[in-house]
């Protein structure tokens, strides 16, 4: 096999593994005040934003990297990373999609995210983030007619400072944990969405993250505010090229739902998981937190985690408003040497709050998977309810599946129920499917999809199809 064939062979496993050859503008390597000022400067940020970053950086210097998680990783040298990398053609912001670097358009086309006109049929507004900058946001005019603001966060800082100032850091404060604080100091771009009072967002909003440059950490920040009585469904997708080194991705996502508002946040995470021997891949250390601030508000997280060498994240809900609802649906699949430590936190503060957690974990190969969750019903959260179900499926005896729930109930009028099971695909089921003419792989795919169905149902249509395929691909070669 010559190298080209080999490359194609390699790409079969992870079809988004190509990299785009594009000229970059980078910040100097390392992490210090100058780099933060550089980022702030290049984004032409106002002073308050720079102060926010510097304050976070001050705090960051005092924090210690946590080490309680299950998947261990070699120490990250934070001084050996680039904290900003952007395609050179983005230095002067293009006015419209037509001015956008064709190479970028090509990249997104290859990823199946057409940014140009034909995409309109799709009816999804996309904000495309390439390394550290947002390269394009579609459908902005249509949305703005309804008063919806959907733009890169760097633009929002300039055009809507009152909103950003009010909400940025209100759910994930700059004094939060190590990675969140790092993000607060160096975040580069991300999406901002604001849905005004009483508006139901007519289309799915979506962000597509792509890490391209090597040796770069991606630190994006997403802020979604749903004002009273509004509704929004938000999708997030991510891919990265295949590289031998591990790359860090430490994003912060903040959701705020005011009275009667609902936010639905779906993620299909397909970062490069590393090769079969566990070399390379993304470290996905993301902080996602939603605040149900108002009465009757609802936040729902749905995630399909198939990529990354290490996934370490807990999308959480703080149920502060009375009658608010938090939901968490998750599928996490690990194969080869992937590791995942994921789950959620449901913090019940308001009265009559409800939360539901459905988590499905599948581990194969040499991988290791942990569900870690917290349900905390405070003494004031009367009449609250939680239901948790976490099921794990193991394929082979070289992998591990773990469940570590923390359950705290301080209110006698509230109920918590938790269930967990661990099992394998039963021989009978396999036999039954194979008898009816399915190959072993197809049979496993079918059974696994059935196992995940409860969660896949929660995804918006377009995503559900993609996710279903992804589930199949991720497990290829894990049986037999």
């Amino acid at each position: 096999m010559d190298t080209r064939e080999k490359e194609i062979e390699k790409l079969k496993d992870y079809k988004y593994g190509f990299s785009t050859d594009i000229e970059n503008t980078r910040a100097p390597k390392g992490l210090n005040e100058d780099v933060i000022k550089f980022i702030s400067n290049i984004k032409k940020e106002p002073k308050w934003m720079l102060d926010f970053r510097l304050k976070a950086f001050e705090r960051f210097k005092q924090l210690k990297e946590p080490d309680w998680q299950k998947p261990k990783y070699p120490k990250i040298d934070y001084q050996n990373l680039y904290y900003y990398s952007a395609p050179k053609s983005m230095d002067d912001k293009p006015k419209s999609l037509d001015e956008l670097d064709p190479k970028l358009l090509e990249t997104y086309k290859k990823l199946g995210i057409p940014l140009q006109e034909q995409a309109r049929l799709n009816g999804i507004a996309v904000d495309a983030v390439f390394d550290s900058v947002s390269v394009a946001t579609t459908f902005r005019e249509e949305l703005s007619k309804l008063g919806i603001i959907f733009c890169p966060i760097s633009e929002a800082i300039q055009n809507h400072p009152e909103l950003v100032k009010k909400y940025l850091g209100s759910v994930i404060p700059i004094t939060d944990h190590f990675f969140a604080t790092l993000n607060s100091a160096v975040f580069t771009d991300g999406s901002f969405a604001y849905i005004p009072e009483g508006v139901r967002c007519p289309m799915e909003l979506s962000t597509y993250f792509r890490i391209n440059a090597s040796n770069t950490g991606q630190f994006e920040r997403t802020l979604i505010v749903a004002d009273k009585g509004s509704y929004v469904s938000y999708l997030e997708g991510c891919t990265a090229p295949m590289r031998d080194e591990n790359q860090l991705h430490a994003a912060n996502v903040e959701l705020i739902a005011l009275d009667d508002a609902e936010i639905k946040y779906s993620t299909v995470q397909n970062w490069y998981p590393g090769d079969k021997d566990g070399k390379g891949g993304i470290y996905n250390f993301v902080t996602k937190r939603g605040l149900c601030k108002g009465k009757n508000s609802k936040i729902s997280w749905t995630q399909v985690e198939t990529g990354s060498a290490i996934t370490w994240k807990y999308p959480s809900c703080i149920l502060k408003g009375d009658n608010s609802v938090g939901e968490f649906y998750s599928i996490a699949i690990t194969n080869n040497h992937q590791k995942a430590d994921t789950g959620t936190k449901m913090i019940h503060l308001g009265k009559n709050t409800k939360s539901k957690i459905i988590s499905k974990g599948i581990s194969a190969g040499f991988s290791d998977m942990t569900y870690r969750g917290l349900v905390d019903i405070s003494s004031k959260a009367s009449n609250s309810n939680n239901y948790t179900q976490c099921d794990s499926l193991l394929m082979g005896n070289k992998c591990g599946a773990h469940t570590v729930p923390y359950i705290k109930n301080k209110n006698s009028e509230s109920n918590i129920a938790h269930e967990a099971t661990t099992s394998k695909i039963s021989e009978e089921q396999l036999h039954y499917c194979q008898q009816r003419g399915l190959s072993q792989e197809e049979a496993v795919g079918l059974i696994v999809n059935g196992f995940c169905k409860e969660v896949l149902q929660q995804l918006p249509m377009e995503f559900a199809v993609e996710a279903q395929k992804l589930v199949g691909i991720s497990l290829e070669g894990s049986v037999g």
């Binding site: 005896n397 773990h402 469940t403 570590v404 729930p405 109930n409 006698s412 009028e413 509230s414």
Partner: protein, 415 residues
């Protein structure tokens, strides 16, 4: 605390006739304890129960020296009536009586092990403390094939002679092939504000059966930590029942290693708490080989501002195929101020296993109360009936009928 420890340690050593080597070993553990102190909430296993704070709040300064020279009078009134049994009596931490009257003398051996220090599968600082300060430890060996005719009751009695003291106990049991032992730990205390630190180890050989009942029923103001390590070989069975109710603070830890095929472990527990008591059960079941089984059931009824914690872990390593592990915890919170925390944990590395856990907590079911009241019971009666039924479920799991009845009578659960 450091000077106190050092001083008390020197005093303790003086009274014991130990070899230089043993003193060195004890010193090593003392230094370990001094550098680590009492466990606090920064340690994962003590996340819900910060012992350091609890001791500070309830006792203040502890003294670690106990005078084991003088004997205490055994008060026979505490002995259990209506059940013939063998006895070991601890008074204020000193062994006063070992009596196996009902058994064949040559089948049970009691070995004085004061001079050997055993390692425990426990890396918290309390094992260091125990190693440094225990004065006498005995090993009870049940010989091959011998099944004790009567249960053994271990009385832990303290009286008002001691105050703010730390008491360290240790017993080792070895059950040889095919032997069996029924054991009841009975706490009966009239003292206040002492910290009991109890370590048991059980070694179960092939086909051995251990039934281990721990009863902390009588109200007292002491703080207790009890650690049981159970090693199990082929076909052995261990059954542990914990009634956690009387002490101010009590943490029971059970560590069970299922090393032999077809070995099984059962752990059942009841928390029945009121006032501001704070109790915890932490279990770790290690399934280390094929075809092993474990079953755990813990139920809690919490009143006033009491707090119960259940941390249960099932570990299955990659060789332990065909493991069957089950764990369930249920709690009823009767009062606004009561609190229940649970951390049921699964750590699994084998694929052909059946493991599950469940946990629920909430209030008494109003519908059930309504049902009973509509049939003529008053509110109080309905409530009692429901709680009785809730707890009876666990008591019914006790396989020894004599002891089951004893425990039923003790906590006044009616059928």
């Amino acid at each position: 605390m450091k000077e106190q420890l050092q001083k008390d340690f020197d005093n303790t050593i003086e009274n014991l006739s130990l070899s230089q080597k043993d003193i060195e070993i004890k010193k090593f553990y003392l230094d370990n304890f001094i550098s680590r102190g009492f466990p606090n909430r920064r340690e994962e296993d003590w996340k819900f129960s910060d012992l350091n704070q609890i001791i500070k709040k309830n006792i203040g300064t502890l003294s670690f020296y106990s005078d084991y020279m003088s004997t205490n009078k055994v008060d026979t009134s505490v002995f259990v009536d209506g059940l013939e049994h063998n006895k070991i009596v601890f008074i204020n931490g000193r062994i006063e009586k070992i009596d196996f009257d009902y058994e064949k003398k040559d089948q049970i051996e009691i070995i004085d092990q004061s001079e050997t220090i055993n390692k425990f599968n426990n890396n918290n600082s309390l094992s260091d403390l125990n190693n440094a300060f225990t004065n006498k430890s005995f090993k009870i060996l049940v010989k091959r094939g011998y099944q004790l005719a009567k249960p053994l009751i271990i009385y832990h009695t303290t009286n008002s002679k001691i105050w703010s003291k730390n008491i360290n106990l240790r017993l080792n049991f070895e059950l040889d092939k095919g032997s069996s032992l029924r054991l009841i730990d009975l706490f009966n205390e009239t003292s206040e504000k002492n910290f009991l630190n109890i370590f048991y180890s059980f070694d179960l050989k092939e086909n051995a059966v251990l039934k281990n009942y721990k009863i902390d029923k009588f109200e007292n103001k002491n703080i207790k930590y009890s650690f049981n390590n159970i090693e199990q070989e082929k076909n052995s069975i261990s059954e542990t029942f914990i009634l956690s109710s009387g002490s101010n603070f009590c943490k029971n830890e059970i560590n069970c290693n299922l090393k032999g095929k077809y070995s099984s472990a059962f752990i059942n527990g009841i928390f029945s708490l009121s006032k501001d008591r704070h109790h915890e059960i932490r279990t770790t079941i290690n399934h280390l080989t094929e075809n092993t089984k474990s079953y755990q059931l813990v139920k809690s009824v919490l009143d006033d501002s009491s707090k119960a914690v259940y941390q249960g872990k099932i570990f299955v390593n990659s060789e332990a195929q065909k493991t069957d592990g089950y764990q369930l915890s249920k709690a009823i919170l009767l009062n606004e101020a009561s609190e229940f925390n649970a951390k049921p944990e699964l750590e699994i590395y084998a694929d052909d296993v059946k493991c599950s856990h469940g946990s629920s907590s909430g209030s008494l079911n109003e519908d059930s109360i309504f049902y009973l009241m509509s049939r003529g019971l008053n509110y109080q009666q309905s409530r009692e009936l429901l709680i009785n039924g809730f707890l009876l479920d666990v008591i019914e799991k006790i396989t020894d009928s004599e002891i089951k009845n004893l425990i039923k009578n003790m906590i006044g659960v009616k059928e």
